[in-house]
Amino acid sequence: MRQERVLGYALVSPVALFLTALVAYPFLSAIYLSLTEKIVGYPAHFVGLKNYATLLESGRFRAVAWNSFVFTAASIAVKLVIGISMALALNNVVRANQFIRGILLLPWVIPTVVIALTWKWLMDLFRGLINVSLIDTGLISSGIHWLGDPTLAMASVVIANIWRGFPFFGVSFLAAMQTVPQDLYAAAEVDGAGAVEKFLHITLPSIKSVVAIVTLLSTIVTLNDFSIVFIMTRGGPGAATHVFATYSYELGIQSQRWGLAMAASLASLPLVALLIVGVVRYLHREEE
């Protein structure tokens, strides 16, 4: 038994060392740095919660927090609707199921940078496919300013993000639906239940925990998404699509205001921590 313990610690130590050095340490030092003021060329000095106070007072930061919320809530709501429709449409289709599912998952493996660039090009004012085809069919007479108008720009980054993420939702929900015993549906049919009733009373309760886990995971990632916004709009026009990660980039990498950048990075932490606790609890419940 002593031998087992020694081997156990020995095998787990690389993970432990690695995560301590490159996750725990950076993270803890970030918390400390967010309490200091550091400008290049001068030593850092402790300023308490001043950076957080500065952020809360800044209109730009409040816009960023609101944008992150809108970006996340809109993306997830639509992904849930499309994901569940996709899973329902694919469920019990034996023929072609594998093939269609394979094609539908492609957006999930394509590099995010490619996705963001492609949508930027699709939405190009004069030559993008969307405006060109809308004008060709006579639906509009002049091009829509997708990435130039504040509201449309937010909608555009949300659309690109949905395109990237809904297949994962759909395939996860489908996997959950396929574990529901068929005789439950048969019994419900005998009792005269229609399609809607079967969905509400059998399907939905059975996939509830998978929906919850996928939603929580996606919320954590979407709240701190960088690539789509950075490539499509750089946070613009103005600050209309600026989100947490692009804002920390602006403060840290562009302005070199590290204390403030750390505080901005950590601003979503309380919410992220809550969501993480949610996922951990759900996964543990699933295991039991």
């Binding site: 490159l22 950076p26 449409a89 493996v109 394509i110 940078v113």
Partner: protein
């Protein structure tokens, strides 16, 4: 019944169209001449089409170098993460010692910390130890999200391998390490393969860390190289879409051949269905 069948295929057709159109636009644009793009001539199917954009990538841009850099980074960080993660997952599922449950939970927590929150803290750490601007930086940085992921995924796989097989090997006189190498690892091979493919895809596609941690020109990876094709609001869309198609190709090939394993991994580990 006929109503639901119709609804089902309508939904599928719509979703397939939505997935298909952007990919179609990538390929179509990549085969257009500069003039066709600029003047919106034959926008839907280029006539005549050209492969000049692809030729340009290899002859007049650093595309080949970016591919090489991405390949080296993705392969090295995948192997590193698999080794560290497999040892950790085995230890956390098969061996008994104090603190093991707490540590397993901590690994899951680190798996959930998003890169968008970690990039500035991690960049500061690399600056402090004076190790930025090298592919090595990325090879060390990517396992910060790959190792927790591999560990978590493989814990699910190791749990599904019957303990009796391993115990039989121990009774026959094998040591723990021999039992791990000869019995457990071969049985966990599909899991290792799935984890490796995920890691490779995640590293190949990674953009944020590669953008921030590397300032020099030479060690740029593919996603960063692609993003810099767009200069302010002007872009060479033909060349860019050719590059986009080629950048997606390896992960699509990996996925088409092995998506069975990837979907298996998806349901067995990360997201339990």
């Amino acid at each position: 019944m006929r109503g639901t069948t119709l609804a089902r295929w309508t939904v599928l057709a719509l979703i397939l169209a939505v997935v298909f159109v952007p990919m179609f636009w990538i390929v179509v644009t990549s085969l257009k001449t500069g003039r066709q793009i600029l003047m919106s001539e034959s926008p839907y199917v280029p006539r005549p089409f050209t492969v000049d954009n692809y030729v340009y990538l290899f002859e007049e841009s650093r595309f080949a170098l970016w591919i090489r850099n991405s390949f080296v980074t993705a392969t090295a960080s995948t192997l590193l993460s698999l080794m560290i993660g497999a040892a950790g997952a085995y230890s956390l599922t098969r061996l008994r010692y104090p603190g093991r449950r707490t540590f397993g939970a901590l690994v899951l927590v680190t798996y959930l910390v998003p890169p968008g929150l970690m990039f500035i803290p991690l960049y500061q750490t690399f600056i402090r130890i004076g190790y930025t601007d090298s592919l090595g930086t990325l090879i060390l940085a990517y396992p910060t999200f790959l190792v927790p992921f591999v560990t978590w995924l493989l814990m699910g796989f190791f749990r599904s391998i019957p303990r009796e097989l391993e115990e039989a090997a121990l009774v026959d006189g094998a040591t723990r390490v021999q039992a791990l190498v000869r019995v457990v690892l071969p049985l966990a091979a599909p899991g290792l393969l799935a984890a490796g493919l995920f890691c490779f895809t995640l590293s190949w596609n990674e953009f944020l860390y590669a953008l921030i941690f590397i300032g020099d020109d030479s060690p740029k990876t593919l996603p960063v190289g692609l993003s810099e094709f767009v200069v302010s609001d002007f872009a060479f869309w033909g060349q860019l879409m050719a590059a986009a198609a080629l950048a997606s190709l390896p992960v699509i090939v990996v996925y088409v051949y092995l998506h069975k394993y990837m979907v298996q991994g998806l349901t067995a580990g990360a997201v339990k269905g």
